[in-house]
């Protein structure tokens, strides 16, 4: 298909999406339904080729994993079969009589990920942060960092009412939070505006050739 046709299709769909700024309308509905449908099909293919095929279908049915042959009944084969069966059991939810079976793989999935995540999270998000913030109070920056951290942690302390010293520390914490949010807001808005500029450039330059 010629490039101009594809560019025109993309430009028209962009305008359909932007028509939402006025109000809901058939053009926006069309673009919305199109992208939802296309993304569903796209992700189905992506998930099959990136996850199901290499981890389940190829090892179980074709005895291949990562480009290498594996043995039928071997450890790698079982490591593909068991999760594959658990995944299939999720579909029992479509049969009311057997729907309770689908809770087991779900429980294994959620529990497994939660359990596996505890140690790395404790190390990376607690331990390393504590070490990094136990800094000498020899500069204004260091003092602000430590005070802000203690204040913020105090704000998220739910076991006591925020009164007295605790209330004061919590108020310091919320101030630090809001300053941080403001900076993050401004930074993100800048990046969103740059995305808008990119899209307008696409319309004016790539599609209409009004600018270079």
């Amino acid at each position: 298909m010629p490039t101009f046709v594809l560019t025109t299709i993309a430009a028209l769909l962009t305008l359909c999406a932007y028509s939402f700024l006025y109000k809901d309308n058939p053009f926006y509905k069309f673009a919305e339904h199109l992208v939802v449908g296309v993304s569903a099909g796209y992700y189905l293919v992506i998930y099959y080729y990136n996850y199901i095929d290499p981890n389940v279908a190829s090892p179980i049915f074709f005895l291949r994993r990562g480009g290498e042959a594996i043995a039928l009944g071997g450890a790698e084969w079982w490591l593909a079969l068991i999760p594959g069966v658990l995944g299939l059991l999720l579909y029992t939810r479509f049969f009311p009589k057997w729907g309770w079976i689908g809770r087991w793989p779900l429980a294994i999935y959620i529990g497994g990920y939660a359990g596996l995540g505890i140690s790395p999270v404790m190390q990376s998000r607690v331990l390393e942060q504590l070490r990094a913030n136990a800094i000498p109070l020899t500069s204004v920056t260091n003092v602000l960092l430590v005070v802000g951290l203690i204040g913020t942690l105090t704000y998220f302390f739910f076991s006591m009412k925020h009164k007295g010293i605790l209330g004061g520390l919590a108020r310091i914490g919320i101030v630090f939070l809001m300053v941080g949010f403001g900076a993050s807001f401004g930074y993100t808005v800048m990046s969103r505006v740059s995305l808008l500029i990119g899209r307008v450039e696409f319309l004016l330059a790539d599609w209409l050739h009004l600018i270079e």
Binding site: A40, F157, T188
Partner: protein
């Protein structure tokens, strides 16, 4: 004679011109003094069983002090030779040759349980020093990794606190949790939707089921579903992940059954829309404009689509309560929503709303873990000030 004179002149000229060149040409090797001095040997050779993650006992760390002639002294050391043997007194096979300036090497091919003897010598290109020797040392598979003892200690402390407070809650002890304004707004929002006869829209984020924010969101969804079941208010739950949809269906169905209204449960209201971020956002915007929910609850993991959802909901006139631990999205929710649960308030919400002992126990446990963390940090700062590094070094994970 005449014929040879020019030739002689040329020869003499060439010889005169070439003389300086000849002076620069290296003398034959046989004329250079031979380096017969071996470099000084490395010292303090040590070998220990290296304990790493999933340790199989097959790694031995070898360390030594640099030869005095490495970068100093004679300055002629170019490399170190390392040998490994299974018998004392024998040099064995060459394990590795490492460059000058290197003072450690890992033998990654050791047989667990086999004692080895190591020798290291410095080499200057001609001569080798005497060998430094160490051994026997054997690698052993290690069940416990001592360098991660601090992680274990913190986890044990945390689990202990959670179990303690869970037990206290189960025994009926009153565990105080301070008022969180945004959480009271959740029930008000559902009440408003019931009065207006319009649905409640609950968006559990676009995180996968293994995302802790999604799990917290599903816990709050259970509470919200019980309220909507009681008041017969339609509850719409759009999801961006198929497994999250499955989990949400289970949660809502069970909540309706617990509220005594299993007949009111409508599985068509739990919808999988799209895995694509902005396709999901577009579809949720469409739901907001067409089905006109009176209350929008955004609780979970959100990324760039957060402002799209919140702004559209604001334009549609719905009361909005948001909650996420995504720091980059909190500013947008704070700006566009009526109430926002920030960070840990989202995780506290499930315990606050349901008052279940296990959830209360984990909330209180994490609260007091914050106290432990602040204490460790303050002690670390004080130790840092007085120049004691051992305390913080213990928390260094290798």
């Amino acid at each position: 004679m005449r014929a040879t004179f020019p030739s002689l002149a040329v020869l003499i000229t060439v010889a005169l011109g070439a003389a300086p060149l000849c002076a620069q040409v290296a003398e034959p090797d046989s004329l250079l003094p031979v380096d017969t001095d071996p470099p000084a040997a490395p010292s303090n050779l040590a070998a220990i069983d290296l304990i790493t993650n999933n340790d199989a006992g097959d790694r031995i760390a070898i360390t030594w002090d640099l030869s005095p002639d490495d970068g100093a002294g004679a300055g002629d050391v170019i490399e170190y030779h390392i040998w490994r043997s299974e018998t004392a007194g024998s040099r064995g096979d060459t394990l590795a040759v490492v460059a000058a300036g290197t003072s450690q090497h890992v033998d990654a091919a050791a047989e667990p349980g086999t004692p080895y003897y190591y020798r290291v010598a410095s080499y200057d290109g001609t001569n080798r020093s005497t060998d430094a020797t160490v051994g026997p040392v054997a690698g052993r598979a290690s069940f416990f990794q001592p360098t991660r003892a601090s992680v274990l200690a913190l986890m044990a402390t945390f689990f202990g606190l959670v179990l303690l407070f869970t037990r206290l809650a189960q025994r009926g002890s009153e565990l105080f949790v301070r008022r969180i304004p945004g959480l009271n707004a959740v029930e008000e929002a559902v009440g408003r939707a019931t009065e207006m006869g319009r649905p409640v829209l609950y968006v559990p984020g676009i995180g996968e089921i293994d995302n802790i924010m999604t799990i917290a969101s599903l816990t709050i969804l259970s509470h919200v579903a019980k309220i909507t079941a009681k008041y017969e208010t339609p509850l719409i739950v759009p999801t961006a992940r198929s497994v999250v949809m499955s989990a949400a269906e289970e949660v809502v169905k069970e909540a309706y059954a617990e509220a005594g209204r299993p007949d009111a449960y409508n599985p068509d209201n739990i919808r999988y829309l799209s895995d694509a971020q902005f396709a999901f956002a577009g579809a949720v915007n469409g739901i907001m404009l067409r089905e006109k929910p009176a209350a929008n609850l955004y609780l979970g993991a959100f990324w760039a689509e957060s402002l799209l959802l919140a702004e559209t909901g604001f334009e549609a006139g719905a009361i909005q309560v948001a909650g996420t631990a995504m720091v980059s999205q909190l500013p947008f929710f704070v700006t566009a929503c009526d109430f926002t649960l920030m960070g840990e308030e989202l995780y506290a919400a499930s315990a606050y709303l349901s008052r279940e002992p296990k959830l209360l126990g984990s909330l209180k446990g994490s609260d007091w873990m914050k106290v432990v963390s602040i204490t460790i940090m303050i002690v670390g700062i004080i130790m840092n000030l007085v120049g004691v590094d051992a305390f913080l070094n213990w928390f260094q994970v290798q």
